[in-house]
């Protein structure tokens, strides 16, 4: 060791890294690729899909894209933040019900009551908590803010107490169950098992008109693209890096002076907001919101799509969610009853054999390419090293 410059390690001690050090992807090129990707996605959603799909199929796609929005949020919370949230249906439902309540009130006209309330008949006036939803200025922000507020409340309680892993998953799922029970129990004001159905208008547009259905589809497609852009920004921000650090070493992050609870809370709240927005847009696309659409089963289905696509990537959750939702429709049309089992099998297979989802196949192929170039061999040790990772002792 030279005594002159104590600046030590690699140059003095180790042989220099095997190849030229990859300078990291030039920012300009990566931005260009992203823009190209977004342009491609926009062309697909806005030009190709409406041209080649029938009105019926386009409406189905609109529904899938709503599921994809939930998936994008799960990608952030679970893929990037390590919080396996099995209860996104709650936030989807809050957004959906908030929107549906407003649309029902709008359908009923000023001073009117939604049809189902008259049907069940014990009420002679609108319940107090329904009233603010008559105003779009309240209802629209509420579709996003309400789920975010609930996520904030729950997350503040849970993350600070270091509830995580399977415990967090079970807790989030229990919340979904509780919400369904609550909705069904309050049939007179929530529509019970049927939910809020028969929604006819959307801010003055008749939803039975295919032209307007198409407009709803475009709104949904545009929203999904906007959420993807937002997510990309979040992933590449300093916060996004920090979130991954919390996922992989929560205790370590604590020792760097951060409070991991608040880092996780932000991701969880953002994911809830996205699910709420998805629920809100689902309502005009499908015309109904009901407990069956937001309970435990749909909550798990949201997650399966994300797992299949690749939870830690930007596009994986979207593609996985659409693929699984599409497969569900296709298969349950032909073989009713088998889908549930198939879906469970799919989930097990992915989790056991392909934890990175289909996106990891893509990454693997790219790594093969890299391996073909001898000067970058050094990076191949990645997989082995990762397996050796050890955890900081928990408190």
């Amino acid at each position: 060791m030279t005594a002159v410059t104590p600046a030590p390690p690699s140059t003095a001690v180790r042989p220099a890294p095997a190849g030229p050090v990859p300078p990291g992807r030039p920012a300009g090129r990566s931005r260009l690729r992203t823009l190209a990707g977004f342009a491609f996605g926009a062309a697909l959603l806005f030009a190709v899909a409406p041209l080649v799909l029938s009105d019926f199929r386009l409406a189905l796609l609109a529904k899938y894209l709503c599921v994809a929005m939930v998936a994008v949020g799960i990608g952030i919370a679970w893929g990037r933040g390590g919080m396996l949230t099995l209860g996104q249906g709650v936030f989807f439902g809050l957004g959906g019900y908030a929107m549906a309540m407003h649309l029902k009130l709008a359908d009923a006209g000023p001073g009117g009551m939604p049809d189902f309330m008259q049907l069940y008949g014990q009420l002679d006036e609108l319940p107090l908590w329904w009233r603010p939803f008559a105003s779009p200025w309240f209802a629209l922000p509420a579709t996003v803010l309400l789920p975010m507020a609930v996520a904030f409340g729950l997350g503040s309680l849970v993350f600070r107490r270091r509830v995580r892993g399977a415990y967090f998953a079970i807790l989030s799922q229990a919340l979904a169950a509780a919400m369904v029970i609550l909705l069904i129990g309050q049939q007179g004001t929530t529509g019970g098992t049927n939910g809020l159905t028969d929604i006819k208008g959307f801010f003055g547009y008749d939803l039975d008109d295919p032209v307007n259905q198409r407009m709803v589809y475009f709104i949904i497609a545009g929203t999904l693209l906007a959420l993807l852009a937002l997510t990309r920004q979040l992933i590449h921000s300093r916060y996004g890096e920090l979130l991954v650090a919390v996922r992989d070493g929560e205790e370590r992050v604590r020792f760097l002076g951060y409070d991991p609870a608040s880092v996780k809370l932000v991701a969880y709240v953002v994911a809830a907001g996205m699910a709420g927005l998805a629920g809100a847009l689902f309502v005009p696309a499908v015309g109904i919101i009901s407990p069956a659409l937001i309970g435990i089963v749909p909550s798990i289905e949201f997650v399966i799509g994300v797992a299949v696509g690749g939870r830690a990537t930007l596009l994986g959750p979207v593609l996985g969610a659409v693929a699984v939702a599409w497969a569900r429709t296709a298969l349950s049309e032909r073989f009713p009853g088998t889908w549930t089992y198939l879906q469970g099998l799919l989930f097990v297979v992915v989790v056991a054999f392909l934890p990175g989802g289909l996106a990891s196949l893509w990454a693997l192929a790219r790594r093969r390419d890299v391996a073909a170039q001898p000067q970058r061999r050094g990076r191949l040790s990645l997989g082995r090293r990762r397996a050796e990772r050890t955890e900081v002792p928990a408190a």
Binding site: M1, E241, E251, P393
Partner: protein, 258 residues
């Protein structure tokens, strides 16, 4: 480097017990500002547990002061923000993030949410300096998971530097390192101790002889001996613990591994 004041660490009568078992049994020690204190002792002596207590990972009684601040009773991240940084017996770098990202996160605990929401542009000065200091400038863009074992340890130390830690608590930093890597690490410790206080838990006696300025020996949760390397090595109680029987000071030889 940071131009901040140097502080010493003062541990008084610290006790840690796990379900009735007392792992740290009334330890008191003073580490003066700028010292490189080695903490040695047989396996299970309570060295790691003492550091856990100082950094808030386990509950302890007694008092731990760094400068004017009492540390006991504060949560982990608050203690960290007072300038106390630590490493762990096993490497804990964020393997799926690059070396640069690891350092950037370590440097950022005081960042506002507005800063966090934006991207990092370029390499902040203090991080560039740390990359040079730990000799990983050429690997900045690589995933930390691809680093060699020794380099990971240096990255951990680099993270403490950018974190602005003024007290470094290192748990077996040279375990598993080659001879050259140990020397490089020792030199690095001497460099960073110019404006920091350093506490090193270590089993490697040769490393200790070369780089320790002072030594505390723990045994069964208590301080057994304290002083310079020579004083500690000459202490018959230390020899007894390490070798099982007292040896006269002239022929005192401690093995490679304690």
């Amino acid at each position: 480097m940071s131009g901040e004041r140097l502080d010493g660490l003062s541990v008084r009568d610290v006790r840690v017990s796990f379900d009735g078992f007392t792992a740290v049994d009334g330890v008191s020690l003073e580490v003066p500002a700028g010292d490189i204190r080695f903490l040695i002792g047989p396996n299970g002596a309570g060295k790691t547990t003492l550091v856990d207590a100082i950094t808030g990972l386990v509950r302890a009684t007694g008092s731990v002061r760094f400068g004017d601040e009492e540390l006991l009773g504060r949560p982990v991240h608050r203690i960290s923000r007072l300038g106390i940084g630590r490493t762990f017996q096993t490497s804990t770098v964020f393997e799926e993030l690059s070396v640069l990202q690891n350092l950037d996160i370590a440097a950022g605990a005081r960042r506002s949410w507005a800063t966090l929401a934006r991207r990092r542009r370029g390499v902040p000065d203090e991080i560039a300096a740390a990359l040079e200091t730990i000799g990983l400038a050429a690997r900045a863009a690589d995933l930390a998971g691809t680093l060699a074992h020794g380099q990971k340890q240096w990255l951990e130390i680099g993270m403490l530097l950018v974190q602005d830690a003024r007290l470094l608590l290192l748990d077996e930093p040279v375990a598993g390192m080659s001879h050259e890597e140990r020397d490089a690490t020792g030199t690095l410790l001497e460099l960073v101790s110019r404006d920091r206080t350093v506490v090193v838990i270590e089993h490697d006696m040769e490393f200790l002889r070369r780089f320790a300025r002072s030594v505390t020996v723990l045994h069964a949760g208590r301080v057994l001996s304290e002083g310079t390397v020579a004083q500690v090595q000459a202490d018959p109680r230390v020899q007894e613990v390490y070798l099982g029987h007292p040896v006269d000071a002239g022929s005192a030889r401690t093995g490679q591994e304690a």
